[in-house]
């Protein structure tokens, strides 16, 4: 019986440990100046202790030096310089953290907020282990009474033994059904208090937050995006990492060239990304963000850019399309020849859909971002990082084009640390009298 309980506990304990804290690696794509980097903050094993940071460079990223700084409450604790070579790949640095709580990793002028979790055992784990420990002590007491000739008194610790085992068993068996507490960082604003005491319950049940206003402007070559709260007007500084970035910014030029950028946080509510060799005219922009508390928002806007160069999207792929009428799922499969694609932003491929276009993409009614997912590997809960070049060659997408008309479509995958963008145009026919639900 005890062995069986031990087995149950052994299974239950790690699941509980994962429940309250997200102890996974944090992957953040960042467009810092002329570089497209992925910054991977590895899980923190002990506090105080080291935080391993991997910086992944991509093809065309200039070599140089970047500075990583860990900061808590504005005070820097450790700084390390990482030299980026000319070859794309992984470059590592280690910074130190000295306490659990909300931290910031500064990568040059970009700042990445992250949470260093405290290792706190849950109340039900304490009840389980405490119950078994108490039962063991009562057992010794009962034995002692029996040995020293007071068998009647031994009944008292025996009752305690039974009660201890009952408490431990109940806690162990019920723990999987206890709802998880709101996690600081994803649902609650992280503070040193709530990170250090994650099992404190709050009265809040609806964690969602107001919509966001996006105001773009340009400063030199940089696109500066100001995010303000739609209800209070204050800067929005609670963006979550979703699909490996704080913000997925898609910029479509007047001639239909696409850029998929990941702006860096330079101040509360201010994000910026460099538009290299931009084209003259009105660019359509759309930003995907997720605020703390849940839900992804799409913020659309447009901006006039002065520039001269037009850079064509150069990628090629063997496209097989099965386009159905509007409202029904269409399938586009891009074949990339060899099965050596790398995950980009945690996905096998991305497809951006803008349309139906009649004039400028800025006025297109539909804007979509479709994913092709990496097939899950059994026994591997962590998603693979970019060093795994083993996917493809076929990248399928399924999307129900809501309206008939001409759509601009771009498919993006990563190979050899370089993002390949394949542009295409899709004509979607009108429905043939089928009820579009």
């Amino acid at each position: 019986m005890l062995l069986a309980l031990g087995a149950v506990l052994g299974i239950a304990a790690p699941a509980l440990a994962d429940g309250a804290q997200s102890g996974a690696d944090l992957h953040v794509a960042q467009t810092i100046g002329d570089r497209d980097l992925t910054v991977i903050i590895r899980r923190v094993a002990e506090v105080p202790g080291p935080v391993h940071v991997d910086v992944v460079t991509h093809a065309g990223s200039p070599p140089g030096e970047i500075t990583l700084t860990a900061r808590a409450a504005g005070a820097a604790t450790s700084t390390v310089k990482v030299v980026l070579g000319a070859a794309p790949g992984f470059y590592s640095g280690v910074v130190q953290v000295d306490r659990p709580g909300p931290w910031e990793l500064a990568v040059d002028e970009a700042t990445i907020p992250f949470v260093v979790p405290a290792l706190v055992s849950s109340p039900w784990e304490n009840a389980t282990y405490g119950g078994f420990v108490a039962a063991g002590l009562f057992l010794f007491a009962a034995l002692a009474f029996a040995v020293f000739g007071r068998p009647r008194l031994a009944l008292v610790p025996t009752a305690g033994l039974v009660a201890g085992i009952a408490v431990a068993t109940t806690a162990a068996l019920l723990s999987p059904s206890i709802p998880p507490v709101a996690a600081p960082g994803t649902q609650l604003d992280p503070t040193f208090d709530n990170v250090g005491d994650p099992y404190q319950r709050t009265s809040t049940v609806d964690f969602s937050r107001p919509p966001v206003n996006l105001v773009p402007s340009t400063v030199g070559d940089d696109l500066v995006l100001s995010l303000t709260d739609g209800s209070s007007g204050r800067p929005v500084d609670d963006l979550l990492v979703h699909d490996s970035a704080f913000m997925h910014l898609v910029v479509v030029s007047p001639s239909g060239q696409l850029r998929h950028l990941h702006p860096i946080r330079t101040a509360p509510g201010e994000y910026r990304a460099r538009l290299r060799a931009s084209e003259q005219g009105t660019h359509a922009i759309a930003a995907e963000i997720a605020r703390r508390g849940g839900g992804v928002q799409l913020l659309r806007s447009s901006i006039d850019v002065s520039g001269t160069a037009a850079r064509p999207d150069g990628g090629r792929a063997d496209l097989r399309t099965d386009i159905r009428e509007a409202g029904r799922p269409s399938t586009i499969t891009a074949g990339f020849g060899r099965g050596d694609l790398q995950p980009w932003l945690g996905m096998l491929g991305h497809m951006i859909v803008v349309g139906p276009v009649s004039g400028s993409p800025a006025t297109a009614p539909i804007w979509a971002h479709v994913h092709s997912m990496i097939p899950p590997t059994p026994g591997m809960p962590d998603k693979p990082d970019e060093s795994v070049a083993a996917y493809g060659p076929d990248v399928p997408f399924t999307y129900s084009f809501p309206l008939p008309g001409k759509y601009l479509v771009w498919i993006q995958v990563e190979r050899d640390y370089s993002v390949v963008t394949v542009p295409t145009v899709v004509e979607v026919p009108a429905g043939k009298g089928v009820s579009a639900k």
């Binding site: 399938t331 899950p376 399928p396 399924t398 129900s400 009298g433 089928v434």
Partner: protein, 129 residues
């Protein structure tokens, strides 16, 4: 003698109780029923585990007669992930009876299976473990 019988009984009761509490329970593959304006769809998945699945579909009219039609389209999607997979088309084994094989439902969670026969469509929720 009496005591040993009592102990044996207690052990049996304890083991039986533990088995009842700890026995792993799976979700059984049950038929899922959905009705549109004219038709009645009954979808039975081969398994409720994630992975390659196949569906047994019986489509009748409201009176229970096999529905006419020669092509059923199954559109699986996972709303929580914002992800759909390619629709699968199948022909009838016999009137009103379809088998849709090789459906790659690779992720555990709540799926939505849209089934359409000519102009009639239903959405059937399917929970995979």
């Amino acid at each position: 003698m009496k005591r040993s019988v009592l102990v044996a009984l207690a052990v049996i009761v304890a083991v039986a109780g533990a088995l009842v509490v700890l026995w792993p329970r799976g979700v059984e593959a049950q038929p899922h029923l959905a009705e549109s304006a004219q038709l009645r769809f009954v979808l039975t998945p081969a398994t409720t585990r994630s992975g390659v699945n196949s569906f047994d579909l019986r489509i009748t009219d409201r009176a229970g007669n096999p529905a006419p039609g020669n092509e059923v389209v199954v559109e699986p999607a996972m709303p929580q992930m914002g992800h759909a997979i390619a629709p699968i088309t199948a022909g009838p084994l016999e009137p009103g009876h379809y088998r849709v094989g090789d459906v790659g439902l690779f992720m555990a969670g709540q799926w939505e299976i849209t089934v359409s026969l000519s102009a009639e469509r239903v959405v059937i929720p399917l929970l995979l473990t």
